[in-house]
Amino acid sequence: MIAFASFAQPPQDAIFPRHHPDVVDDMDVDLGEDDFERGYQRLTCPGEPITSSQAFMRGHGTYVDNEEVIASVAGTIERVNKLVTVRAVRSRYNPEVGDLVVGRITEVQPRRWKVDANSRQDAVLMLSSVNLPGGVQRRKLESDELQMRTFFEDGDLLVAEVQAFFADGAMSLHTRSLRYGKLRNGQLVTVPPALIRRLKSHFISLPCGVDLILGLNGYIWVSKHMSQSQQEGDAFDGEAVYSNRNDEIDGATRIAISRVSNIIRVFGAHFIPLTDTLLLEAYEWAVEQEGDVRDLLQEDVGDALVATVTAHN
């Protein structure tokens, strides 16, 4: 089955105001000292003058032209004392210590792994910051170094926490918890990192038998539900932490995983921040519609889903 459609056309009758830069707009965009005091967040467009460069310093996302600080990206204005920055709406992930991220191993290096975590640079996972199978507590030896690929190899997905930063701004990860480590029994969905907010817990289990790990970097792991005891039991029984084998997953769970993934994709496409209640409501709506999983990716169904779910909140 194949269906063709047209690219979205620009609206025919839209009238875009066009001004010569010399024409003074009736809206005063320059911010003074007191505008910042009020503490409201304002959005900028690239090229929009923010404030005078004599009173403020330019930070990330801005540049100075004609003694004016001008935004170079679309985003929200932030100010720390005299420093004005614009935080871009759409950007790569900006890591902070303590963030939970989902990443993919890109390279195995001496005593460390390189991890793609949707950031500007690859993250680093040191051999010293992973747990040994079986929860043994000891220093990592040369023998561990030689069998690093038995822990993680290229392409493996893992969940980890940002531990620290290197001098060049790359993040260092750690998996020293029973909840962190290699991922299996599911699939990965990617959304813009701005859509994942800092929550109390980024491990969400939905009642439909699906577990979610919301990485703050926009990578979301959707997998079969595993009970806490099972998970921690696994961590102690030796090899299971670094296992590459999936458990038996029944058809209903697979369908639920696909459905949750599609819901996340719809939210990503509509640029709606994800929360557990939102996901749950959306899942219930999707089940109520009695449609196929694939229907969710149709534009009208997706729109209806978003309209229904956001109306409640």
Partner: protein
């Protein structure tokens, strides 16, 4: 074949395998095995090309990104047959370039290899003599058209071969060959006697007596050609109905599926490309076949897959044909109506 796929963990691979092989089979986004993602198509996107098309498979609605995006454009160039590279009846050259942003993980060498592979498959299929359009000649033994088909892969979200072939077919469908009129250079006053008694299509009758732009009976002696100023851009390529479409069968023995995403591509050992053309009123013609990947296939399996492939290709062909006609309508009739309504 340079690997265009992203890396995938063993657990993900086995999850995809077992989902595809379970009954009923299930894919990551809930599609059935033979469903395509939504294909977006627009023709006439490049004003300076003779024909062009933009195609996207699986774009996310609302948000700008996502999907395999391909732009194809055709350009006609005049070639000299006597002194240049020209061939009697014209020739076709295809090239495919891939944007580095479509394959950020590939080195520039690997990207070159991939471009070369894609170019070879497209060129060998489309420049075949059985598909050659009849109206690419200008002056026998003197001038002919060179039809350049340039395809750019701007983003790859899987199934890039089908996208390239569909976009090329749409661009070729859209191609207009400029009308030409042969002319002969003559010294003043030496016009052939036959030219005097018939009205010329130049404005001045007096000049027509001595015109050196008489076009009759000149095909054989014509030295050059001119482009008559006419309201449309020319005529369509001859036999444009039979440009082929390609279906990629992703084979995970014993089953197969269509329109793979990058992660599905990475976990499938074998891909079978089948390019079919469907000339009107005659059976389908298999124009090209390629096996990609380390997997194996017996001849009997290959036969069965080819028969299946023809079925999918016919469906794809019919849908694409409908969309192309709709695009023609949008750009001609509807555009004229909209202009008149202003």
């Amino acid at each position: 074949m340079a690997s265009a796929s992203t890396s995938l963990s063993k657990a993900e691979k086995s999850y995809i395998h077992s989902s595809l092989c379970s009954s009923p089979p299930l894919r990551a986004d809930g599609r059935s095995l033979f469903d395509f993602r939504t294909v977006l198509l627009e023709t006439g996107v490049a004003p300076l090309a003779n024909g062009s098309a933009k195609l996207n498979i699986g774009k996310q609605p609302h948000e700008g990104g996502g999907g395999t995006e391909v732009v194809a454009a055709t350009k006609l160039e005049v070639e000299d047959i006597e002194n240049g590279d020209g061939v009697e009846g014209g020739r076709i050259i295809c090239s495919v370039i891939c944007s580095p942003s479509a394959y950020p993980h590939l080195s520039s060498n690997a990207l070159d290899e991939l471009q070369y592979d894609l170019t070879t498959i497209l060129h060998q299929t489309l420049s075949d003599s059985s598909l050659h359009p009849p109206n690419l000649g200008i002056l026998p033994n003197k001038k002919s058209w060179l039809l350049c088909i340039d395809v750019a892969v701007l983003a790859d979200a899987g199934n890039v071969f089908d996208a390239i072939f569909m976009a090329s077919r749409a661009a070729l469908w859209d191609t207009k060959v400029p009308r030409t009129r042969p002319i002969e250079y003559q010294a003043r006053g030496l016009a052939p006697s036959g030219a005097a008694d018939v009205e010329m299509d130049t404005e001045s009758g007096q000049q027509a007596q001595k015109s050196s732009f008489d076009t009759r009976d000149m095909i054989k002696t014509a030295a050059d050609f001119e482009l008559p100023d006419y309201w449309d851009e020319g005529e369509v390529l001859g036999g444009r109905e039979q440009w082929p479409v390609c279906v990629t069968l992703n084979i995970l023995p014993p089953m197969h599926y269509l329109d793979a995403t990058p992660s599905e591509e990475a976990s499938t050992p074998l891909r079978l490309l089948l390019a079919f053309s469907f000339p009107p009123d005659s059976p389908a013609v298999l124009q090209a076949m390629r096996l990609l990947g380390p997997g194996e296939l017996t001849v009997a399996q290959l036969k069965a897959f080819t028969a299946d492939g023809e079925k999918y290709a016919r469906e794809l062909f019919a849908a694409l044909e409908g969309k192309l006609r709709e695009e023609d309508l949008r750009r001609n009739v509807k555009a004229r109506d909209r202009f008149a309504a202003r």
